[in-house]
Symmetry: C2
Subunit: 321 residues, 2 copies
């Protein structure tokens, strides 16, 4: 076999090696492009990924049993597992089939799921030549990143850990095709509380008392089911909320949900409207005779406003929750 | 300091070393005894541990997202994490406080949680001198074991893996104080299906169609929420069950729950009564004019019996579910 024969054998299209390399590059890039376009075809892409990370972190934190709300407090095995959970939740969220060698198969491409809290993805040898869906979430910053890269020698660091995994090099990072570069992660209410409020919560035992404190001191912000069960360290968030309403009513605190008269009252008071499985609390007092600019909500024929800190407590009106 | 002083210093009670060793043994055994008695003070001990293993395995399998029901199909990181999940669920089930060095503190004893699917517990060096709560669960056999042992050189194997963990030796096993030697694990319905039934299920896509097949072919056995969401690969088991009732009604299949007229009908037909979050299906036909020994259920003024395979389908009666 002559050199030319060999060249033809290597590339049946009869291209020069430079042309062939460029064609291969093009085909590989088109893989990244196609997968990117596939993801971008989801109009709710950002909120879908946001839910993936929120759910995965909340499930591994297991707040209802452990009271934890900070991924930094996870044990090592739990942090390792978090990557698996993200892979599972992401597969379900986008209904992704298994690949032959990698986690997913998307647009005929083998795609491996790689999650890292710090955005320091460790790439296994087996991923060489395949795509990686790079995912990172920062719960303190309420942000996340998702990108796609084709793994090659060019994008990896030289070294490698004892498992032979290597990270994406600084130069390699420029090859990441970002799906969400600064994604907005659903916020973690408990993690975001200031330390004074957290101290107030922790002064009472976990359970109903702490749920009461949560709704007594965190006003005007959406509180989700997970925050309630984490503070309660028990299930049945709706029951905890109903009990908190009874206990806090005499002080004027109302806890609006997503049903019946709640959305109307929330809107009238200028508060965000809770979705199913979320609540928002505020303290009400009867509106002063002369309006002072605060939004009014009419409840049972009387107008109420959100109380200022210096206004004396007044029993909450009966709301049709 | 004389030898005698030294001896007194070593044991202020002035015992001989043999007596001292025996006293230490006694104190250590009394620790095992006290923790054992503490657990045995729970009258529902076996069912509580059964729930711990069932919940932990079901959560890591994550059937609603993955469709999995066999712990043998878990990935390595998931199997490692299963031990952590059992520790967490067990802590919550018995409301156990953290130890200083080990997972739990029970009756003033440091107790480490050790779970193994195969009952091959790997004991870390740090557990030396402390108690271990040894737990194992076999989903195929619907059985589990729970025991307590004090870790000493005497009960461990010589070797050790790369992490310096050693297993309980054959001789050491005789020192395990069993809380549940042959505990009855809540059964895993899908894992226990015969292969013919499993084939029938897998012939249709996951989702409502497969839920229909489940209730069409698995009769007279309690089917829990987890089995439904695993077969459906989606949430909202009650909705899936309601839809299956509509689809299977024309063939005579009824799916009894825990509410309204369901328990009465189940009892009349001689079936187990479903608890909340569980169902039981059967196929009904009008009772023959001359009784043939099958239990009768009166529904809407007509008596029904569980159909034999050779009886032609008859539309199901309207049951107040």
């Amino acid at each position: 076999m002559s050199m030319d024969d060999n060249a033809l054998f290597d590339d049946p299209r009869g291209l020069t090696s430079a042309e062939a390399a460029s064609a291969v590059d093009g085909a590989q890039n088109s893989g990244v492009e196609r997968v990117t376009r596939w993801f971008e075809g989801h109009t709710d892409l950002e909120s879908r990924f946001s839910s993936v990370f929120r759910q995965a972190m909340d499930e591994v934190l297991d707040g209802q049993r452990t009271g934890r709300y900070d991924v930094d407090t996870l044990e090592k095995t739990e942090k390792t597992y978090l990557g698996t959970k993200v892979e599972i939740v992401c597969r379900a969220a986008f209904n992704l089939p298994y690949g032959d060698d990698m986690d997913y198969r998307i647009c005929d491409q083998e795609v491996d799921a790689k999650f890292s809290l710090e955005g320091k993805w460790m790439i296994p040898r087996e991923a060489m030549g395949h795509l990686c869906l790079l995912m990172a979430a920062n719960d303190r910053m309420s942000s996340f990143k998702v990108g796609i890269i084709r793994i090659s020698e060019d994008v990896l660091t030289r070294g490698g850990n004892q498992d032979g995994k290597r990270s994406i090099s600084l130069a390699g990072r420029s090859h990441i095709k970002w799906l969400c570069r600064e994604g907005k992660l659903k916020s973690n209410l408990l993690l975001g509380l200031d330390s004074a409020t957290r101290d107030v919560l922790e002064r009472v035992p976990v359970g109903q008392s702490r749920v009461d404190q949560l709704f007594k001191y965190v006003h005007g912000r959406i509180i989700d089911r997970n925050a309630v069960v984490t503070v309660a360290k028990q299930l049945d968030a709706p029951k905890r909320v109903r009990d908190a309403r009874h206990r806090l009513g005499p002080e004027g605190v109302v806890i609006l949900g997503h049903q019946k008269d709640s959305p109307r009252v929330a809107a009238a008071l200028g508060l965000p409207t809770p979705e199913k499985g979320t609540w928002i609390a505020t303290r009400l007092v009867p509106a002063p005779n002369t309006g002072d600019g605060r939004p009014l909500a009419w409840i049972g024929g009387i107008s109420y406003v959100t109380a200022r800190a210096d206004e004396a407590p007044h029993p909450a009106p009966a709301i049709d929750y």
